[in-house]
Structure formats: C-alpha cells, structure tokens
C-alpha cells in the first residue's frame, strides 16, 4: 500500500492566477487568431504571463496535457475500456506487460476484484479485438472488454 500511495502525486500549491487559468482553460481555448492573448485579457493577465504559467503548470504535472482533445471514433479509430483480474503477486509483471502495448492510453489500478482498468485506442475499430487477444496471450489472463454503447456525457471539469 505504501508503494501505491507513493505513486499518487501530492496536491500542488496554486495561487489565484493559476486557479483562474486552470478553470478557464478546462473550458477550451477560443479558436481565434491570437487565442492566448484573448484568454489572458479575460483573466486580466498579460499574454506572456499566461504562457509562462501554463508552461510551468505542465512541467509541474498539474496539467497532464494542453491541446486538442480528439474524438477517437470520429477520427476513424477504435476505443474501448477493458479490465483484468490480476493476482496480487503478479501485479507488477502484468502492469509491465499491459503498459508495453502502445495502444494502452491509460491504465489505472482500482479497488475491486477486477483491479486493472485500461483504455485501448487503436488505428481501426477491428484492431481492438487483435490487441485484446494479444494482451490475453501476454498476461495469461482473460480481458473483460467494455466498449461504450452510448455516451451520455463527456466533459471533465475540475474546479479549483
């Protein structure tokens, strides 16, 4: 458990301007000629200060990414959520085996009998099945494939 805790980053120290930037930019960058200048003006910052702080927030891992958020399926790819029941003694080996697949976009340990949950993003929808079969071979475990059947909402917004 101490290992698991060590993998969880500590909450960051943020000042008021950082918070305004994070809240505003989760909403999306306006698609205008000078988008950072436009956002900076809204937040009463200079463009230079916004860019500097944004870079710092990315370097510090407060933001994991800043950029276009793609709709994988509309771009023609395959996407699914999958889960494994991993024996505790084998957890590190299976983590390495699963993470080695470039199609694994994220992977979380979760507290359940199904204790490993990962998202697969592939070149084509057909490729999902092939990658799942390959993961079953690599891990020796049965993959639970849970593709979305309907999307009711996707909009992560964490106010700070």
């Amino acid at each position: 458990m101490s290992v698991a805790r060590a993998q969880r980053p500590e909450p960051a120290e943020l000042d008021g301007a950082d918070r305004r930037i994070i809240n505003r930019l989760q909403e999306g960058l306006p698609l205008v000629e000078s988008p950072y200048a436009a956002v900076a003006a809204e937040l009463s910052l200079s463009e230079g200060e916004l860019l500097y702080r944004l870079e710092r927030l990315l370097e510090a891992g407060v933001l994991s990414r800043f950029g276009p958020m793609y709709h994988a399926q509309r771009l023609g790819g395959g996407l699914t959520l999958a889960a494994l029941e991993v024996p505790e003694a084998d957890f590190e080996r299976v983590t390495a085996a699963v993470n080695a697949f470039p199609e694994v976009a994220h992977n979380y340990r979760r507290e359940h009998r199904l204790n490993m949950w990962f998202v697969l993003a592939t070149e084509t929808p057909e490729r999902i099945g092939e990658v799942i079969a390959a993961i079953e071979v690599a891990t020796g475990l049965a993959v639970f494939n849970l593709p979305k059947q309907e999307e009711f909402h996707v909009r992560l917004h964490l106010p700070v």
Partner: protein, 182 residues
C-alpha cells in the same frame, strides 16, 4: 500517401472515409502532444507543414465544428488539483430506463463521464458507468448516494471503484493510426 513518412508535404486530395484529408491528419499529428505555447500557435503548427496560420485555424475550427476534436483544453492531473478521490461508479440499471437515467445523470454537475457499457454476466452486472471526482471519499460517496436516490427502483446494485494508482497515462496517441496508409 502516408503522413508519417512524408509529414512536410501533405496532399489535400487524400480524403479518408471519416472526412479528414492528409492536411487535417498532419495537423492532428503535429498537435497530439499539445498545442505550442507561443503567441501564434496556429502559425507554429503550420510552419513545418508549409501551411499558413489562418489555414491551420480554419481547419481546427472545422474539426471542432464536426466533432472530430471536442475542444482544445487543459487536461488536469486530478491528484495535483487535490481531487484525490476518483471513483468510477458502476450501476446495474434496468435496461428499460437506462436511456432516460443516463441523460439525467449526465446533466448533474460533477459528473465528468457517463457511458452505457455491456454487462458480462455473471461476473459483471453493471451497465452504466459514471465517473465522480472529490477531494475526499466522503464527497464521492455523497454524490453516489444522490445518484442512487435518483435511480430508485431502476437500479439493482452499484459499486464505487476508486483508483489507487495511475499505472499509465499517455493519453490517446493517434499518430500511428493517422499516419498509416488506408
């Protein structure tokens, strides 16, 4: 042609079934790690592709309008923002009511993702997935309790699966896919 082997000379005539042409694909490739943090990000993206900034901006607008990109935004690390309790709540909801309930739940503030997914009986009876984020587990449990009340008799069972460790988080990498010949 393949974008990955010839990124500097995208041709507009290579349009694939999803409506992206080679120039769109080159722009997606160039921005998937992130948008440049410079005053003219469109020009910075376009320069190595031989495109003017206003062409890049026009294409970004079109891709957002037709839903290929959801938006250009900051993706926070939940833990670093103090959201240390991240619960994937899973619900066994009556199929007859899942459409209506899915839509209702999606409208609740604090719900970030809400999907219908297949059951795998008998091991996995849950068909509705709702992500909840809180600064404490109590906060997530209060949100889950509110959902439970809203579902009423249409929900047979639910669980909260907290994440205890990020094992990998690279985000979607579309490069190989978009670069590969179709």
């Amino acid at each position: 042609m393949s974008v990955s082997t010839c990124p500097s000379e995208p041709q507009a005539d290579d349009t694939s079934a999803n409506g992206l042409d080679a120039i769109d694909r080159a722009i997606v490739l160039a921005t998937q790690a992130g948008l440049p943090l410079v005053p003219d990000p469109w020009g910075a993206v376009g320069k190595p592709l031989g495109l003017a900034g206003n062409e890049v901006l026009a294409r970004m607008r079109r891709m957002q309008a037709n839903g290929m990109t959801r938006r250009i935004a900051a993706v926070p690390n939940h833990y670093r923002l103090g959201y240390v309790a991240n619960g994937m709540t899973v619900w066994d909801v009556d199929d007859a009511h899942i459409e209506r309930l899915g839509r209702e739940v999606a409208a609740i503030p604090g719900v970030s993702h809400c999907y219908r997914r297949p059951r795998h009986l008998p091991e996995w009876p849950y068909n509705l997935f709702v992500m909840l984020h809180g600064r404490t587990r109590e906060e997530v449990e209060r949100q889950a309790e509110a959902l439970r009340e809203r579902f009423g008799d249409a929900c047979r069972d639910h669980r909260i699966l907290y994440s205890s460790r990020i094992l990998k988080k690279t985000g979607l990498r579309l490069a190989r896919r978009l670069g590969s010949p179709r």
